[in-house]
Amino acid sequence: MTRLQKWTRMILVMLMAAACQFAMAQDVVLVVSRKCNVSSLTQEQVADIFLGKTSAFPNGASVIPIDQQEGTGEREAFYHHFIGKTEAQVRTYWSKIVFTGKGYPPIEVVPPERVKRVIRDNPNYIGYIKRRDVDSSVKVVVVLHP
């Protein structure tokens, strides 16, 4: 293989990896109930909700985040893209919070279909699902990036 071919191959692999990352991030969306009147949140607000730093939407209504199971692609993509933390970092964060009695990580809801049903029926809940799983039962929240 010539050097040029090697370089081309390497660049292609890197591009593909980047594309995967991008696709993965785009794949997951934040959803709330149709009865919930929140339609957009900043990235900071999303992080505050899922890291337990607030228990209310910016409009004052109480909010309860729900997580997917650890190890699912949705969860990894969500924390990477919306919170900017790896799963290990999130675990370390909660370790500090839980063992000082300050709070609890979000409740895990399985399977993903149940996430949608919980959110559909409970306007105070917020969760994330794959974009392709979005249907009329839930509303996608626009996340404003800084």
């Binding site: 900071e44 505050d48 730093k53 607030t54 228990s55 209310a56 109480s62 309860i64 729900i66 650890e70 190890g71 990477h80 900017g84 933390k85 790896t86 799963e87 290990a88 970092q89 675990r91 370390t92 370790s95 500090k96 839980v98 063992f99 000082t100 009695g101 609890y104 409740i107 809801v109 149940r114 049903r117 919980v118 559909r120 029926d121 409970n122 105070n124 809940y125």
Partner: protein, 424 residues
Amino acid sequence: MPPFFRLEKKAALTLAILLACGLARAQEADHTQEAPPVPPVFSINGFGTIGMVHSSERRADFVATDLQRKGAGYSNDWSPYVDSRVGMQLNARFTPDLTGVVQVVSEQRYDGSFAPQVEWANVKYNITPDLSMRAGRIVLPSFLLSDARKVGYSSPWVRTPSEVYNLVPITNSDGIDFSYRQQFGDARNTIQASFGQGSAKAPPDNDITGKRGWGVFDTLEYGNMTFHVSYFRTRLTIEGTQDLEAMARLYGGSAGAALADKYGATDKPFEFYGAGASYETSRWFLMGEYGLINPHSAYGKRVGGYVSSGYRIGKVTPYVTYAFADVKSNTSDPGLPLPPAWYPTYSTIAAMNARLNSVLSSAPVQQTYSTGLRWDAYKNVAVKFQFDHSRLGDGSYGMLNNRQSGYVRGGSYNLISATIDFQF
């Protein structure tokens, strides 16, 4: 019809019925309300560390805190007793606004035993979403990681820098505290006020008690940055030098009384000031803290600080840390004037002066350069390695305990540590 077909027909019928039921159930599910998921009232969590540490100084013990009896160096070449511990926690969520926590930790104590101690035991009530109150035993958030310092998994290092985290001898407060959260634009401020009393036990069997303690701890979070300042004071009694105080008053007249007042460690105002900041992204962290204590006693006005930075490469986070401890008060004192050598109290007063000076010079003066790495090996398991090089100030034995004959103050020593931190 041959039996085979009959069977198949039956199977098809069964399948059809099952399908129909399934569909009916699916439709039914679509119409019933999905109950909101509710966390369990009681839950149990745990954490622990299995650690080994080796010290190059063979005539004294390296210990993680002044409250441990034995360490690495003299007692054990490689000691498992310095960093190893296990903690169990019972959480209670009676309502979303009323919760409780009890945490019991087993680690090496003043007597070398691993008798479990209650680290946390309190009930928390959210008065409003931003104001909460706790009653019971809480761990004071003197520094950024103080209240979680025993949970190895939550920190980037093998252990929190001793130069800073060992400044405050009492870490628990039995009493009440309030926490108030405020939002200022993109910044969030949390102020915590604490009132209570606490105690600890140091080797060989000395009680350290703090009474009428109170403190204010403020944390400001802004983006990836966290700032922390704290003030704490208590009436502190450190057992171990009370006989010196009595002797000074007995033999020293007014000069003795002045000496006892200045250096005594009975019901003295103990003050602590701390400040720190951290910056953390998904890639790297940078943090630093500084603390000052004034115990108004022979234990001396002490300061400590550190800066640490790490960079995450996949599951591995290498880091470097620089830490120092220093003393800002006198480390010697002429003590009581000695009477003529033939006088009956001569030897008593000479011995008293010597002991006073030994306490005064016990304040650690040292600098430590550390490097290590954290490897997030498995879910909820972190493996860490750390190398420390400590240089002691002239005449100081730093944080080495259990010093044996032949130990020389000053100089330097190295540590090699390996830990496995886990949580469940």
